[in-house]
């Protein structure tokens, strides 16, 4: 899917946990998430922690959309 969106010229960032899958399927901008069933908020942590993590990683995704890249890139996250 990500490839078809990009093929249409829309910059797209894929947020996912399985980096090898995203790399194989050909996503160019990738931001890691924390797991498959809960990509952006671990239910074992508090609401605030989940919100903080989600806000941070979505922010990284937005930066990814504005980054000029030359090759497939996995963007670094801090939390």
């Amino acid at each position: 899917m990500v490839k078809e969106i990009e093929r249409a010229g829309l910059p797209v960032v894929q947020m996912c946990n399985l980096l090898p899958v995203a790399k194989t399927t050909g996503a160019n901008r990738i931001v890691p998430t924390i797991s498959i069933p809960y990509p952006l908020g671990d239910p074992k942590t508090s609401r605030e922690e989940q919100n903080k993590l989600r806000y941070h990683r979505v922010g990284v995704a937005l930066s990814a959309l504005t980054s000029d890249i030359q090759e497939q890139t996995v963007f670094k996250v801090d939390i």
Binding site: L18, P20, T24, T25, I34
Partner: protein, 441 residues
């Protein structure tokens, strides 16, 4: 560490007035067997049937298969699941061969359940079509999950594990017709001849993707999700230490029967000391987070290196994101110089044109492929259905659907069906039975 499995080759199973085994015929007192099953108050309805290869009978939703066996020392057949935790690496177990006990839902199916056709063109898709089966069709009081797509199926799965042991009790004191001996020598106590052969480990990646307890494969009763890869004596797998779970599209699953008879382990034993040195099993799992997948791959690699493995066979009980565990594990082993053969199925789509695994790596040079989960299968009606066929279309079964623009519903009014291979009971047989492969068309 010697495991002896004494075999009784069952030629026929009949209902009668006693539980007995004589001249290849297993006789079951149906009412007594049902009374035994009903001792569990969670079982609210139970029927018992016998089906044989060639019978024009369709079974759905099938949830589990178990080979009837008994341990002569009185220990539980499935330690940590059907009884307390006891070791499974050695001892004497008696087995009724050529048959299995199947768990079938009376009404409710789910994502993980599968179909068996005993006769007709559908029979070639499942291993169990070739066995004589004692079929427990049951309903339970687990109403909390009746309408859930994901089901633990706990009561009915436990019931067939116990029933398998109950049935085999009649051969406990009989002399087996033949005996298989599995002698696993401690790895540091092998003679130089054997040590000079290429050393091989078998890596089993168990289905363990659910975070909540009750869905995953169990190792001595322990949820494989909460496990790190560990070294095991292969006898433990053959002798009840591993119990199948209740998650994953069915054709990718390994039933408890499959573990009890694991064909790769048995073939490696045949070669042991002749062409190779069978170092044992590395029991691993399939995870839901990248970090967990990578951690398991590291563990497998380091276990292999520490054991001095020259070669490995890696098999995965799943497809989709578990392919990432499978590929990562093989890549890690190859990086460590361990020559590896992988065993898997593929998801190339109904049209056969999708990428076969969700991740790919050029380090995968030797793969045995056992089928396409999304192959479309159309089968005519069967005169007899045990269970509830409608469940294939209604209950979110992987490989079944309630409606499709082009294909219509999976179950048609005349009882004919159209489904994906996904819904064939343990159909892809990556455990080692599979006579299917994948070819380019």
């Amino acid at each position: 560490m010697k495991l002896k499995i004494g075999n009784f080759h069952v030629k026929d199973i009949v209902f009668g007035s006693e539980l007995s085994y004589r001249d290849g015929v297993l006789t079951i007192d149906k009412e007594k067997a049902l009374d035994f099953v009903r001792q569990d108050p969670h079982i609210t309805e139970a029927q018992l049937h016998i089906v044989k290869p060639g019978d024009m009978v369709r079974l759905f939703p099938v949830k589990e298969a178990v080979e009837p066996r008994i341990k002569t020392n009185g220990e539980p057949l499935f330690p940590g699941f059907s009884g307390p935790v006891t070791g499974a690496a050695e001892g004497e177990t008696k087995a009724l061969k050529g048959c299995s006990v199947l768990a079938v839902g009376r009404h409710w199916g789910g994502f993980q359940d599968g179909l068996i056709d005993m006769g007709g063109e559908g029979a070639k898709y499942t291993y169990f079509s070739g066995l004589i089966n004692v079929v427990l069709v049951a309903d339970t009081d687990e109403t909390f999950e009746q309408k859930e797509q994901q089901k633990k199926n706990h009561a009915v799965r436990l019931a067939v594990h116990k029933l398998a042991e109950y049935l085999a009790a009649c051969v406990k004191d009989l002399t087996p017709e033949d005996t298989d001996e599995y002698d696993f020598e401690p790895v540091t106590k092998r003679d130089s001849g054997k040590n000079g052969l290429p050393s091989v480990i078998y890596v089993m990646q168990l289905q363990s993707q659910m975070e909540e307890d009750g869905y995953n494969d169990l190792v001595y009763g322990w949820d494989a999700n909460h496990m790190l890869p560990t070294f095991m004596n292969p006898n433990e797998i053959l002798n009840g230490a591993v119990v199948s779970g209740s998650f994953m599209p069915c054709s990718s699953k390994w039933s408890t029967y499959d573990f009890q008879n694991a064909p790769v382990i048995r073939r490696l034993y045949e070669e042991d000391g002749k062409t190779l040195n069978f170092l044992g099993v590395v029991m691993s799992n399939l995870n839901v987070a990248l970090e967990q997948k990578e951690r398991s791959a590291v563990f497998v690699k380091e276990l292999a290196r520490s054991l001095g493995a020259d070669a490995a066979i890696v098999a995965e009980e799943g497809y989709g994101n578990p392919d990432a565990d499978f590929v990562a594990c093989i890549a890690a082993l190859e990086d460590a110089g361990v020559k590896t053969v992988g065993m898997t199925n593929e998801c190339t789509g109904r049209d056969g044109q999708s990428q076969p695994l969700v991740t790919l790596d050029e380090k995968l040079t030797a793969i045995v492929s056992c089928g396409n989960v999304s192959e479309l299968i159309e089968l005519p009606p069967m005169p007899v259905v045990l269970g509830e066929l409608e469940s294939l279309a209604r209950d979110g079964v992987s490989g079944g659907w309630s409606d499709d623009e082009l294909l219509g519903p999976s179950v048609r009014p005349d009882g004919s069906i159209i489904m994906e291979n996904n819904a064939m009971f343990c159909g892809d047989q990556v455990i080692g039975w599979s006579q299917k492969s994948m070819i380019e068309f």
